[in-house]
Amino acid sequence: MTLDITQCLLDRGEQPRDLSDYQSGMPRWCDGCGDNAILTAMQRLCRDNDLAPERTVFVSGIGCSSRLPHYMKTYGFHGLHGRALPIAEGVKMSRPDLTVFVSTGDGDCLSIGAAHWIHAIRYNMDLTVLLHDNRIYGLTKKQVSPTSPLGTKSNTTPKGSYLDALNPLSVTLGVANVSFVAQVVDWIPEVLYQVLSAAYQHKGLSFVRIIQRCPEFMPGFFDPYLQDPSRTMLLTHENGLTLSPDIARTYRNQRAHDPRDLAAARDVASLEDPIPVGILYHDPDAARYEELRHAGALRTADQVRRGLDAELDKFTIWPERG
């Protein structure tokens, strides 16, 4: 496994990268789609942290959200519906030296990939997971998702959906070894960026639910929230979000919340309206699976030879000396 220190040093000496070093192709998302805001924030984040594009991997599943890697000039893996997380875990286990981001949608992560979501939280590998949650299936043209509100009319629920929405924050906060949970909305870019930065800085799996607009299939759904800032509740704390004066002036509905407090985080997670925005939970000390498994350990041919020979000895019948 590789850790090329020389290359890292060389990278440092180069000109700082600009946004174009992370941009690839022309996004094909709809006008007004929240994915655009997420992409912009991620490109900014890569630039501001001067991430080496060749050491950065964006992994995604299937859905509108999962096109994101194609628009990053980094390595990318646009995988299977629901399976972004196990692919990303494999990448990280094989190459802990790489920075790995995961883009996944509400259908991708919370429905078809639900098993992987729960277990990824528990593995707590160092991945930054962006849950692009527009509360509807977009790429397949409007079907309810697990986060669609009760009564959502869609092509598979023409009379309105039958069940209450699943709350991804509450579920995530119920999983053992959870280490970072946050929620943001696509229409407050400054906070989106700040939370994504904190998620990136966290060592462990950071799970960020990004509530985003789908102008095509959920048109106007979030308008009441955009029009009335009091329906967004910002979580503030010295260990969490610190608000700029502009944001603090616009969004006056604020609540002090210590992200180290799991019980309080679970309370906050259960709130739907106003939408809580900020870092709900952060435990920097949770065990990381790739560390426990000594991912990236160096191995030599001699080590393999010795390991193999020691094992073969246990099964060997040596010729009799005579």
């Binding site: 893996f77 494999g90 019948i317």
Partner: protein, 632 residues
């Protein structure tokens, strides 16, 4: 065959008859947890060290703790030992040791005992306090004697009680001592074996087991009037004795692969168990994923970012992985998948062997998803196939499926101890800069091959995708790009085929009948062919290891025989069934592939009995086929 019931005193004075044999099949069966498995394995190891050829077959009940004394609960080991190399489990048992009559009845009913076979039966049940048990025992013994078996009632528990408090644990070593006496093995080898088996435990444990061994030996020496001698030829070079799954795990280690992602499933899991024990010492990782799908995708992610990874599974798990394998084919990411086949479909027969997955492995995953399929043909091949598979996967950027099955998983056989070669390993992950102007899919126009870009390589940034894509790995829906991808992914398989050697014919290069097989059945098929050839029949066999692509030259070989048939352990319609005719008959998997490729009227004989194919059954089928030819 004589029938007798031995009492301790009766035989004491009897003179020993020593019968020299070419080979024998021994079975040791008990309730699960009574140690018949360990006894069998130890006996096999002693035989192998004494220079005998051996092949062992585990007898495994489907349940973890089946009720005691139940017909379906037999747990134990079959050992076929002989003067020459043994390549399969053989036909029926010559000598059975049973810890109770119920497990024995199960084996008798399954037709596993040779007519007149010798049975060494624990006699304690005759005097059981529960009159129903005593009655059942007496009835069973009477029935077995009436059926012509030579039943010897042995006071195993009574004898062991003289040495240990709990004879239920330890009876197996008493039996081992008896078997050492019966088969004229050096008792010292038995002592050595106990030291190896219980090496990790207290010295007292070893001593007590050695006492039991010696007691079993002494009892047999005093009370039994027969002995066998199967002369062995000690090997001139170092041999290893292990089962197929152990060999698979060691093959993974030796191949230079570093990550194995798996989910527990029978009968594949024991390979991962062993790998979990040894892999970390050489820097490897076994990841038990949350499910089979995750295991496959984890392995794909690991392969994508570094060295080729492996996922190990059995039928139902393989079905779940199919979508992921299609992704690896589409994105051209190397991956090794092991499928230790079991009875299917659905949950089927988890502990029983079957060759039922070939077609789903070759054609599985939707769309055109060409991959390499390699079927191991023995225990030794379980080791080397992993090294070959890893190499092919990485050279051709493709999925390589290695097919084994439940019979190889647990069967043991000696083979030459492998000598490590650095060439088996993978070079370090390429992190060099990619020259400008190169594309992630620079398909070679002749072979479809390309050098993939690995994260960390400056200048190689691109996004791999399961969507149709062009050379730049950009999503491309135009027909040209789509066809270019399909063509190159398929062409790689043809390019690999050009490097494969034609398999060798077992027997004469021409004749009346060619039998083609694949996988674990090699030894049994070749033994059946040898029996027919010894009778003057013009029969030969061919065993295919690479099934996709299939090496060249097989068509030419088939032409030299009047008739070709496959012998497989998967379902094929029986010609005698009223609704089955030439137009609707479903052929065995390999037969179907051969018929389609070579336009040859390949017949097939298959048996799906949940146990390894027996040479005698195959020989019978081949004779029937030859008779059919004569009748034509």
């Amino acid at each position: 065959m004589s029938t007798e019931t031995i009492r301790e005193a009766d035989a004491a004075t009897a003179a020993k008859r020593v019968t020299r044999l070419e080979e024998h099949i021994v079975e040791i069966i008990s309730d699960s947890g009574e140690g018949a498995q360990r006894c069998g394995q130890s006996f096999a190891a002693i035989a192998a060290k004494s220079g005998n050829g051996i092949w062992t077959v585990e007898i495994i009940p489907a349940e973890i703790q089946p009720p005691a004394r139940s017909i379906a609960g037999a747990s134990g080991n079959r050992i076929r030992l002989g003067s020459k190399r043994i390549t399969n489990g053989g036909d029926e048992v010559d000598l059975a040791v049973a810890f109770n009559e119920q497990v024995l009845i199960g084996r008798v009913r399954a037709g596993e005992l040779k007519p007149g076979a010798t049975i060494l039966l624990e006699r304690m049940w005759r005097d059981d306090r529960d009159p129903r048990i005593a009655k059942s025992y007496v009835e069973a013994v009477d029935e077995l004697v009436a059926a012509g078996y030579r039943v010897l009632e042995i006071p195993m528990e009574k004898e062991c009680r003289k040495l240990v408090v709990d004879p239920r644990r330890g009876k197996n070593m008493f039996v081992l001592g008896m078997l050492c006496s019966i088969y004229s093995f050096d008792l010292e080898r038995g002592r050595e074996q106990i030291a190896i088996t219980f090496g990790k435990k207290d010295r007292k444990v070893i001593e007590s087991n050695v006492k039991l061994l010696e007691a079993g030996w002494a009892w047999a020496e005093e009370n039994l009037d027969f002995k066998y001698d199967i002369p062995g030829i000690p090997a001139g070079e170092a041999q290893v004795v292990m089962n197929g799954n152990t060999a698979l795990a060691l093959g993974v280690l030796a191949s230079g692969m570093e990550i194995c992602a798996m989910y527990p499933i029978t009968p594949a899991t024991s390979a991962s168990h062993y790998l979990s024990e040894i892999f970390e010492r050489v820097g490897g990782i076994v990841h038990q994923a949350e499910d089979e799908i995750a295991a496959a995708n984890f392995a794909i992610g690991a392969s994508y970012a570094g060295k080729c990874a492996v996922t190990i599974t059995s039928g139902p798990g393989y079905s779940l992985k199919q979508e992921a394998l299609g992704l690896a084919v589409m994105a051209e990411i190397p991956l090794v998948v092991v499928n230790v086949q079991r009875g299917g479909p659905s949950t089927g027969q988890p502990t029983k062997p079957e060759q039922g997955d070939l077609l789903s492995v070759i054609f599985g995953s939707h769309g055109d998803a060409p991959k390499v399929v390699l079927a191991v043909d023995g225990i030794e091949d379980c080791f080397y196939a992993m090294i070959t598979a890893r190499k092919i996967a990485e050279t051709f950027n493709t999925v390589v499926v290695v097919l084994s099955d439940a019979s190889l998983a647990t069967a043991q056989q000696p083979f030459a101890r492998p000598t490590f070669s650095e060439e088996w390993l993978v070079p370090p992950v390429d992190q060099s800069e990619i020259a400008s102007g190169r594309s992630p899919y620079d398909w070679d126009p002749l072979t479809g091959l390309f050098r993939r870009f690995i994260p960390g390589q400056p200048g190689g940034m691109h996004t791999v995708t399961g969507l149709a894509h062009d050379r730049a790995s950009h999503v491309a829906y135009d027909h040209k790009s789509n066809e270019e991808g399909l063509r190159n992914r398929s062409m790689k398989i043809a390019a690999l085929q050009r490097t494969l050697r034609t398999p060798e014919v077992h027997g004469d290069p021409d004749g009346d009948l060619l039998v083609i097989g694949w996988g674990s059945t090699r030894g049994a098929i070749e033994e059946a062919v040898d029996r027919l050839r010894a009778d003057g029949q013009r029969v030969s066999s061919l065993h295919v290891r690479f099934i996709q692509p299939m090496p060249s030259g097989i068509g030419d070989i088939m032409k030299r025989f009047r008739r070709v048939m496959t012998v497989e352990s998967n379902w094929s319609d029986r010609v005698g069934d009223a609704v089955v005719d030439d137009e609707n008959r479903r052929y065995a998997a390999l037969a179907m592939l051969l018929r389609a490729r070579y336009l040859v009227d390949v017949d097939c004989w298959t048996e799906v009995s949940g146990r390894p194919l027996k040479p005698a059954r195959i020989a019978e089928a081949l004779r029937a086929q030859l008779a059919k030819e004569v009748a034509r």
